[in-house]
Symmetry: C2
Subunit: 406 residues, 2 copies
């Protein structure tokens, strides 16, 4: 059931439009905003006046201009309008970052996670403490933080407003509800997203900004100890729809062996680092997976595979096959889209490629539409961070536009 509309919602939508345009371009003049949004000049006046009154945007001091007529006055988001905390939880380290409303990094520190899993309760405490520390270092108060954006590998509650970690390689199925954790003291938005979802978000934002345009959809796959997938698609109303399906634990083939999650035959059980290790050393496939595989260990297997060692090569090939089959299945259910591969596993992409291409090539869809473009993108952590900001600042802009009414 659609919901009723009103003139107030119109203003809200057009306000977010102006904020989005301003965010993309850093600063724009009155006429540029009008051109970018398609709104009439008078409407832009009304909206910018309101946003300026609310302290969200400001006119730039210097109207540097070489033009002929009246100098343009540039609007720009006010950095001090609020702040965003970004938390990246990975298996060995947790990174805390603070940025302003403009998205520039103000402070960052990391905290190691000791591997003797003390459970979620202890982590929750260090987490809250770290947030406080981040504020103190920059002399900020909690109410200046408009959003806390958290990422982890694993499965996240997809409901909007929820921030529950349902399953993760770090905490297993011990659930962790960040929204509840920060609920009483923090008034900002609390959001939790899968790491690879954020990669897809960042790549999609890049693609949409690109001049050639025409973006429809893409998928990001992260290779490492576990396997992540993010899918970004443009929805019916032009909005970006990003999801993180449970790709790593999608069924590949029962022969793939026991997975960390307890099931048999997951993609991860063949294509995750521990799966590759197991196959290379011919460990029985129902062996309980290694808790952690050092990258040096993987490098050694890769080196011997490149020197022609049979089982090592086979292990990577099987991993590629699992990924390829998974991608083929994923594309059957969605549509043809370019695939971007990230994560520490990309350094073995030369070894995976053969199996991957073979695995992908088995479907009607691909025969009709051709194989998808598969490319490697580096600097996954950077992309995750960009995805965090893209998402968090977008949500904040929405909140601001909505608050203008109240």
């Amino acid at each position: 059931m659609l919901t009723k509309s009103s003139t107030e919602l119109v203003r809200q939508q057009n306000s977010t439009l102006v904020l989005a345009a301003l965010r993309r371009a850093r600063n724009l003049s009155h006429t540029e905003i009008s051109a970018a949004t398609g709104l009439a000049s008078a409407t832009v006046s009304a909206i910018t006046a309101e946003l300026e009154r609310a302290g969200v945007i400001a006119k730039a001091e210097q109207h540097v201009q070489g033009g002929r007529g009246r100098p343009r006055v540039l609007f720009t988001p006010r950095r001090d309008c609020g702040y965003v905390i970004v938390v990246r939880i990975s298996s060995d380290v947790v990174q805390y970052s603070l940025t302003d409303y403009g998205g520039t990094l103000l402070d960052r520190f990391e905290e190691g996670r000791n591997h003797d899993q003390r459970g979620t309760a202890a982590f929750a405490q260090t987490f809250v403490d770290a947030l406080e520390r981040l504020l103190q270092r920059s002399r900020l108060t909690r109410d200046r933080v408009l959003a806390v954006s958290i990422s982890s590998k694993g499965l996240v509650d997809a409901d909007t407003g929820a921030a529950r970690l349902l399953w993760s390689p770090v905490f297993g199925s011990e659930q962790l509800d960040f929204a509840a954790l920060l609920a009483p003291d923090w008034r900002g938005e609390v959001m939790l997203n899968n790491e690879t979802l954020l990669v897809a978000q960042a790549l999609a934002a890049q693609a949409e900004r690109a001049p050639e345009g025409g973006f429809r959809s893409l998928a990001a796959i992260s290779l490492g100890h576990s396997i992540g997938l993010g899918v970004a698609r443009k929805g019916r109303f032009g909005e970006m729809d990003v999801t993180a399906p449970n790709f790593g634990h999608m069924l590949h083939a029962p022969s793939a062996g026991l997975c960390r999650c307890g099931a048999y035959g997951c993609i991860e059980a063949a294509a995750g680092f521990y799966g590759i290790l197991r196959a290379a050393f011919e460990v029985p496939p129902d062996t309980i997976p290694a808790k952690f595989v050092p990258i040096a260990e993987m490098d050694k297997i890769a080196a011997s595979a490149r020197q022609g060692h049979r089982m090592a090569g086979y292990a990577f090939r099987q991993a590629g096959l699992a990924l390829g089959n998974g991608i083929s299945r994923m594309l059957s259910l969605y549509e043809r889209m370019p695939i971007y591969v990230t994560g520490p596993g990309t350094r073995y992409f030369d070894l995976l490629r053969g199996g991957l291409e073979e695995g992908v090539s088995q479907s009607l869809q691909l025969r009709l539409q051709g194989a998808p473009e598969i490319s490697v993108v580096l600097d996954e952590q950077r992309l995750v961070f960009d995805g965090h900001l893209e998402r968090a600042l977008g949500v904040i802009d929405g909140d601001i536009a909505a608050a203008g009414q109240a």
Copy 2:
């Protein structure tokens, strides 16, 4: 990029809201419309007046009322406001139906399809002729037809506005563009949808009307000569998002053998009628699939399976396994949702169930959230027809609301 909003769009949206409410309930009074849509009474007055002026709705003559005060006057969609043609293309027969704007069936006939495939060109001609015949029988002109809604099994161009059949069991990869076919003479909407998509649409509409409410998503699976899947999900803005992923030709396992589509290992190659037949008779799995399997033949295999014949039972079990694995993978990529099984293959559901449940039970997602409810729904053809109307009339209502502005 979102698009700008305006007061006219507000009216458009609210008009569709009123039309949708009116369609669901057949007839509603002024106050009932107000309650159903959440719009203020004055707004309802304005919108109903406009729609009445446009000849889309009318006040019911008789204000039967036992109430106390001023009698309620009921609004109702005007049946003669326009007409819809529904075409169901199945492998052996094409059914043409005519309904009015209220969705009541006015006329229907079927035309057999001779199996000596004369190609799409010949079919296109008989198709256009049949539409003309449908009009003549009811003495209507083409411009009174607001939509032609066509369904077939197979893969359909998902772009809005397009009506191209990309691949189908009937015509193979010979494409057929219905929009182009009817473009010059017919001014109504031409839409083409996968058959099982329409089943999902109809079931979702039912579920949403149900009093308990809280509908999120569902999947419909059609079992028969080929395998169809439709997924209906409620989108971010409350709209119903229905898709028909290429489930039948998703990769199951290479061992499943040669599929009709030319690839190896599709779900259909194991779970379609010809796949079951092939397994039951131990025909080599790379045999070119039978063009058509009579249902009597399938019944015989089922009977012997029920009597304990080993290979027949195995064939159904393998089919169930292929379906179950496919569902498990599908749910990994989307979310947990109830599954509705339709189609002629449901009569063998007792034989499929074991393999199906085993096949479904292999994933992390299901361990976390429990197995999906799987139920059988009969009368697939009726559901397809309902889905046609649900969709076509919805689109027409949208067009009417949009036209009110112009």
